[in-house]
Symmetry: C2
Subunit: 424 residues, 2 copies
């Protein structure tokens, strides 16, 4: 899979992108029925090919220790029969979603009789850069093709053999449904320089979507010449209002913080109204202690909780991705909103309150992709939102925000019908 | 208006952007009623201040020759009483549009009872860089504030005094409606370096919108660290199909090409089906000759038309913005589509045909922001589309495409309501 030299690599990337653009032009005309039939045929083929997939996966597993993967990472890499079944049924679920392409988003007839329709179209070509879990390869190919986009898949080297096996199976099913093989291409080199080459090719690629660690995402954002759908991190907050049901506040905080530590929609910071702090802090401290979570509190928190460690300024901006939470006490909801808008990643924030006024103020003024009322931050997720597969979560406000499903991979065009209309 | 040195300029730009962000936070909570009242009060104030505006405008006109402006450019710069009335009534028209902010774009209740709403919100802070016409200053301020965005206006130096007078009047009306003065700031220095400083400030500015010559737009696109709404140029095509009404084809082609030469939605290229070329070309050649438009044709065109000049490869990609048109003869509609998708700016293309099949094929396969059927390319315009004021036209597929009105300046967020929901 190594490519001889830099010139060859540049040519390889250019040709891959050119093939993707050509395939996207054909794919834009493929019917929803054909795309869904392809997804179902691919699911069946994956089930029938579980031996071939297992063999490819075994090669990745054999290399994993050499790549320095932890046991947990190796486990995520492993494709059991159950997991292949999971991949296959995910494709079948995507097939059940309505086809987005050609949908009339808006329409109007102008006073002069011109009829104007706003029609949903694919973005074109997606460059998807992601980490090692091989199920992501199938998911991303499915969601891109379903939305009429050609995709260039750049998966982690750790899963390269598994991903190749999966893409080959999906490609083999494509031709019979009029889908060009090049609509889904897996980058065949693991050379890191390839990413840089693709990021320059904005005449072919319409969007880059990096998914992985913050370092990868920063690199892609800086180098990309095309738009990027991304989030850097998730410093998510739970705010316990004066009018909170404190039992609920404990339950939601614990779920937001402890359900899974390493995910972007986990809570990293707790903001508490001073009117309930004295009652609430001991309750949450006990619950967090049971889970082994360390509290880093501001001065007021540390006065009330012996167990709290003093927080530095940096703590309030930190995405711990582990069993630590920062705690800040505020005088009122305005202070809470100001604190959160200053330190959050604009990912997910939740208010716990029984007050309608407080919930309206919080949801209006908090500037984040998802604002929760009396619900765990963990619900900011494409699956939980009912969007089907998710290609990523965006904390930007441009184009797509929050969990990005099929619609985030589409654009629109205007179709204007006249009878020889000219402008006067 | 000169700022002493580079450090001062950096500080000035930073402070302007910080003030804009702070103002945008307040503006996001201002009611639609208050914004509309502000627009109407500003219209009245502009009418009452026509003397002050005329005085400021006279200073710009006095400087115009020194800046090397042509007579036509000086005319566009001039603010007559009629034009001030035009600016005022444009503000009143924007006031009549529904408020976009807070609109529920989509909503769902999940099986677990969580209710999820997708709510329209402002983008935040807009950096708008534009040419010298002073009416654009009022239009842009109005459309940005109406959509809940703070705007940093960077107008051309040629209109700086007129723009300052207008912005001051609009700012004076702001406070009584709870709109922060800093929601609309005119950059007070004409130093070109200021643009570069603003383009670095993506922690404050959510989108940059350049409007002007291709050089300005390329510079902004290259330097901007935030998303950009833009089009570089408009190489728009009219395709005369085999099944065209040829009289209509002449009418629409002449309107598309000759209605105004210097605009981005003017036609620059004519593509003709070979089955009608022999009949159509002499018709259109006569009509174009009457307007003094030069034809640059491919080989087949030159054989049929003595008056045609041979086109080079470059001609087919050219935006003439003047009385020249390129002509290409094709064997079928597929060739026409391939030619257009290759050379067009993805701005506006029109097919002239009586065939339903041809119109469906053309509108599906042409990859441009607006695809016309039997209508002039000149209709790709915010006003003609009924969008109200237009901040620009986008030929990108990301975020907003085609004419960009109020909606193009908005994003959305998810509001999720639960009853203490936690994820299992």
């Amino acid at each position: 899979m190594a490519i001889a030299d830099e010139t060859d690599l540049t040519t390889y990337c250019l040709q891959t992108a050119e093939k993707a653009l050509a395939a996207s032009r054909v794919l834009a005309t493929v019917s929803g029925q054909a795309k869904n039939d392809w997804l179902r045929a691919s699911a069946a083929a994956l089930r029938e090919s579980s031996d071939a997939i297992a063999e490819a996966n075994a090669r990745d597993i054999a290399n994993a220790t050499g790549y320095g993967l932890t046991d947990a990472q190796i486990d995520r890499l492993r494709l059991t029969e159950d997991r292949v079944e999971g991949i296959a049924s995910a494709l079948e679920q995507i097939a059940m979603f309505p086809d987005p392409i050609g949908e009339t988003i808006d329409s109007t007839v102008r006073p002069n009789g011109l009829s104007i329709q706003k029609i949903r179209v694919p973005l074109g070509v997606v460059f998807f850069i992601y980490e090692s879990r091989p199920n992501v390869t199938a998911d991303a190919a499915a969601i891109c093709v379903k939305s009429g986009n050609a995709v260039i898949l750049r998966g982690g080297k750790e899963a390269i053999h598994s991903s190749q096996a999966i893409v080959q199976i999906l490609q083999e099913q494509a031709a019979q449904f009029g889908i060009p093989k090049d609509a889904l291409q897996l980058v065949s080199t693991t050379d890191r320089a390839a990413v840089g080459h693709f990021l320059k090719l904005n005449q072919f690629i319409d969007v880059a979507i990096p998914r992985g660690g913050e370092g990868l995402i920063r690199r892609v954002s800086e180098e990309a010449t095309m738009p990027v759908i991304k989030h850097f991190d998730g410093n998510c907050h739970v705010y316990v209002d004066q009018a909170a049901d404190l039992e609920m506040a404990v339950r939601v905080t614990i779920n937001s913080k402890c359900h899974r530590y390493g995910v972007c929609n986990a809570a990293e910071s707790l903001v508490v109204h001073e009117a309930v702090a004295e009652k609430f802090l001991p309750m949450i401290a006990t619950a967090l202690a049971e889970k082994g979570v360390e509290i880093r509190g501001d001065e007021a928190t540390c006065k009330m909780l012996k167990s709290a460690v003093p927080a530095t300024e940096q703590d309030f901006g930190e995405e711990y991705l582990g069993p630590i939470i920062s705690v800040k006490i505020v005088a009122d909801i305005d202070q809470a909103i100001a604190h959160i808008n200053r330190y959050s990643s604009k990912h997910t924030e939740s208010i716990i309150t029984e007050s309608l006024a407080a919930s309206r103020k919080f949801t209006t003024q908090i500037d984040s992709s998802a604002v929760m009322v009396n619900a765990s931050t963990r619900f900011n997720d494409g699956g939980e939102f009912g969007l089907g597969a998710e290609i990523g979560i965006s904390t930007d406000k441009f184009h797509a925000r929050g969990p990005c499903g099929i619609e985030a991979l589409t654009s629109y065009k205007y179709i204007v019908m006249g009878d020889g209309h000219v402008r006067s």
